[in-house]
Symmetry: C2
Subunit: 274 residues, 2 copies
């Protein structure tokens, strides 16, 4: 068993589509669980609620309150429409009596890894990257900020993107995989779409905190085993709100996920707030 | 009064955050109301449910079933969290007893049009376009398909993008405004983010139907009066599912909205289906 499987496990609870979870602190960024980890936990419940349609083809999470690592949680799912190829469902993660994540998803089946795509194709080419061994690992941004998640995920940054502010663009690219050797699957891609340093760090240097308001991930194909290659870019920052676009490719160069998030850039002495 | 205001009007209904609407057929594409129109109708209800926070900073709609033009509908809103600067709410549009749209949104306040952005900025530059008078109007794609929406919206296409398949890229750009002279506001941007021909037409020519599974719009600024400039691009098509990215700029060149949707490309004799 992998840590990811252990730490996204759910127990059926009561009647209907409700599960209990132990929200782990092992995926924390600072004091709170990573938003992608919480989303993959909710994705596990969605998967169980839509048999035969295990993959979120589109999934949107709104982050209402920070999650609580090391505390129990409850996920409730409501299937809004069951279709032959696609079903739509919403889900809520609650901890300590309060909703933390509200999620809306279209569930389907990406088919086996390595299946050639059907029909006409357009694709985003993967970025050029030095091999993982030539890319430095992600590290904690400052003394006193702990990134427990780095014990679970091996994150390598493009050498030009490893020092905040140095690339002069709101861009970060690199490699990611689980440290324990588990290969990425679609639910793991939800986590990996939110585990890199914010792209704005590339332009602005370290800004204290970039909380996610909303994250949408589109899963495009089941990844082949091995490292995932990722790139995140922010092309739109104003009024303390940034849109960050991400893309993930598997070890064969196939695009497996796209992501977009709206986040707040909390600048010292001002900026937007929730 | 404008047609858009008339045709997105809601009447309070029963207790709590519920409204009745007359879903107009005037915004139809073929037999069904445009998805952007339905989203702006739901946006009107969200606006009423979150006083002082009139603008969807992030709004995601999942299209469960086609809407019914010319029939009544009911919108129910549930505010999940009220915050000082942002509130999160979900909403359902029902017609004929069945849910049609499920929506999740973060509501806030974009401030007055023309306010200079605060803090560091990154922005997408608007595309080069000939003036509106040199751009042909959008027309119905084929005999027998009526686009009632073109009586409400004046849509001008870049001359190179006006004939399906001709540009050789999944790209469409142009201009849009209401025919009756009403200026666009944030809710109108929700409509206008879904009123152009699908970008894949630029590459593939006419494919019969490109139904939206999910549409997310991020509103970035309140638009100044006048034409909106828009561009839609599909960089990711596989297995009959396409991701289309859009951006809208106001008459001063300011980026006012970004959109992304997941749609199905139904090719003759195959492709994905819901």
């Amino acid at each position: 068993m992998s840590h990811f499987d252990d730490e996204t496990r759910l127990r059926p609870h009561g009647d209907g589509l409700r599960w209990q979870a132990d929200v782990s602190a092992a995926w924390n960024i600072g004091q709170n669980p990573n938003g992608g980890y919480l989303l993959s936990l909710v994705g596990t419940a969605l998967q169980q609620a839509t048999p035969g349609q295990p993959d979120p083809l589109s999934i949107t999470a709104h982050y209402l309150r920070p999650g609580l690592g090391g505390q129990p949680g409850e996920v409730a799912v409501d299937v809004l429409r069951r279709g032959r190829a696609l079903s739509t469902a919403r889900a809520t993660l609650r901890q300590d009596g309060q909703p933390r994540l509200e999620v809306l998803a279209a569930m389907g089946d990406l088919g086996p890894a390595g299946t050639p795509p059907v029909g006409p194709q357009i694709t985003l080419p993967p970025p050029e990257l030095p091999p993982p061994d030539d890319c430095p690992g992600r590290s904690a941004p400052a003394q006193g900020v702990s990134l427990s998640i780095l014990d679970r995920l091996d994150i390598r940054l493009h050498p030009l993107h490893a020092r905040p502010g140095e690339v002069g663009r709101a861009l970060v690219s690199g490699w990611i995989r689980f440290r324990d050797g588990r290969d990425a699957d679609p639910l793991a891609c939800l986590l990996m779409a939110d585990a890199f340093p914010p792209a704005v760090f590339g332009l602005l240097g370290l800004v204290g905190w970039v909380p996610t308001v909303e994250l949408t991930v589109h899963l495009r194909a089941r990844p082949a085993p091995g490292w995932l290659r990722v790139q995140f870019v922010a092309n739109d920052l104003a009024d303390g709100r940034v849109i960050e676009d991400g893309a993930l490719w598997d070890s064969t160069g196939r695009l497996v996920a796209q992501s977009r998030q709206l986040a707040l850039v909390r600048l010292p002495g001002g900026g937007a707030s929730g």
